[in-house]
Amino acid sequence: MQELMERAKELLASGEVARVLGWKKGENDWDVEPRFFESVDSLQDFVYDGFCGANLSKYMIEAGKKEGKTLVFLKPCDSYSYNQLLREHRVDREKAYIIGVGCKGKLSISKIPFDGIVSVQGASYPDVSENLTVQTLYGTQTVAYKDAMLERCHVCKGKEHVVYDELLGESTDTVDADRFAEVQRIEAMSPEEKFAFFQKELSKCIRCNACRNVCPACSCRKCVFDSTAFNSDQKANTTSFEEKMFHIIRAFHVAGRCTDCGECSRVCPQGIPLHLFNRKFIKDINNLYGAYQAGSDLETKAPLTNFTLDDAEPGVGRG
């Protein structure tokens, strides 16, 4: 972390960058927030540890509108999101100085199953095999680092950055689960079970739009669900259809563009496993049209703006 801070200070002081987009210490160990640092002094509050899960790439849309270059720290998986935004002309590469930072798996405070957490030690020097020491109002607890990791880190895309100006820090491969296992589990259910499963999950949705607003692929200036373009502007969770429409269409709109960064599931206040929608599309795309990873490059045609003459027919494989 010190290394990152020093490098950021250096670049800021030299005038090479006008600001730094990084993570700022919170009130507690875990409530780290994304932040633009405009001065060397302000970087005192810079932090980089296991709680820096937030993907900063979407903030680069706004950064591109500001004067001068912005230094941004991107984790390997964040760099895919940035690349996808670049491909869609939503960010200006000229106005970014990208430091690819090492990542050893990121934590979720909601995965630490204790009441009254006061502090969490061990987040800054992550080693997957180590434990976090958690001070709570009601005593000291420990939890394995791995058990407190975000879902996306268990199915990590790898240690490589797909776009950067320089690299700092080591990454660890944290994969210990099959990315599509949960999708497959649902696919194997009967239609009634599937319906019941999603009905239960989606009935929690409060239409807060956190999933949409955090999503680097959902970068529309005006979302269809906020506009009259389709006569479909909605704010309400009036009937269960509203959530289905919203989540199906949202997943469809990001199909072939979603890098599976997992931010939607991370931020959902109701803990809805929203990545299961996106991953279903990713799985289908991989199976039907060949393996595709959004954001991995700028050239490969996206699956939904491409075709082959002998593509599968809709509904193929149905009983």
Partner: protein, 341 residues
Amino acid sequence: MYKIQKENLKALYAAIAAEDDLFLPVRSAGQVNFGLWTQEAEADIDTLKTVKSAKDIFFPQSENLYQVHRQEGKMNVQGAELCRKPFVVFGIRGCDVKGMEVLDKVFLSEPVDSYYAARRQMGTLVAMACGRPETSCFCKVFGVDCAAPAGDVITWLVGDTLYWEPKTEKGEALTAKVAQLLEKTDASAVEAEKQNIRAIVEKLPYSHLSLDKWGAAAADKNFDSPLWEQLYTPCLACGTCTFVCPTCQCYDIKDYNTGNGVQRYRCWDSCMYSDFTMMAHGNNRNSQMQRFRQRFMHKLAYFPANNDGMFSCVGCGRCVDKCPGHLNIVKVIKAFEKEGV
């Protein structure tokens, strides 16, 4: 003071639900929210905070106002029924009860919101003291005593025993209905619990936030602070904070085309949204900084200015827990305390 063993609570719920609708924290798909009790529902009174506050029961996220039916070229307008069936909210925490007081200021002052007023009249609040307050709790700052919350009935869960104390007429009436399930007891265990809770509350990191920089006088003073420009940056413009908040009361009114007519409904709106209070000419707050500022200025300055100093935050800490960008009212208050003018 009465008591009932935890294992008998299901019988208590059944007894209440026999006549009235019973809302209580229900766990579904891993999350706890207030919901209607049924035999199948998984009641969860151990979880301190429901994701959404109990506000939803009195001021639903979406509610129908009236319906227009068109048939053979004729219109038929039908207003929504006001709530007529008594109901009980069980397990509401002190902060949420305080939240109701804030909502009352808005909806019960003239012109009275008849939908809300009807529900308030029909609803009985069975509050519950917070045995294990959370780090994010700061209700003390707003004068809430979570060891002895307000409500029609107050309950304390101590070990496996739920203590029950009716406080109002409504509370007494409810107590009478379920009297056969309750056992009279003295208040000693409850008193000890209150001391316990208050001791923990004292130790909570946000319990001693200072509101000196806030209140009616802050309306002009804090508006132009350069701090807003720094504080808002991580804001995603989602509505999480507003939708989990027990006091946010803004709503939008919309029409739904049912094919044969229109259903006019209202639904929660969020001042974080870019189309909040959108008018024909555009929006009077057209940057996220302005929208962000609005939310906190409203809670901490404008609302007290219009409501005898009452803040429209109750310190429940839900926004502290749920904000995807880890922004929250505590950070705002602290920033102004440290650097504000």
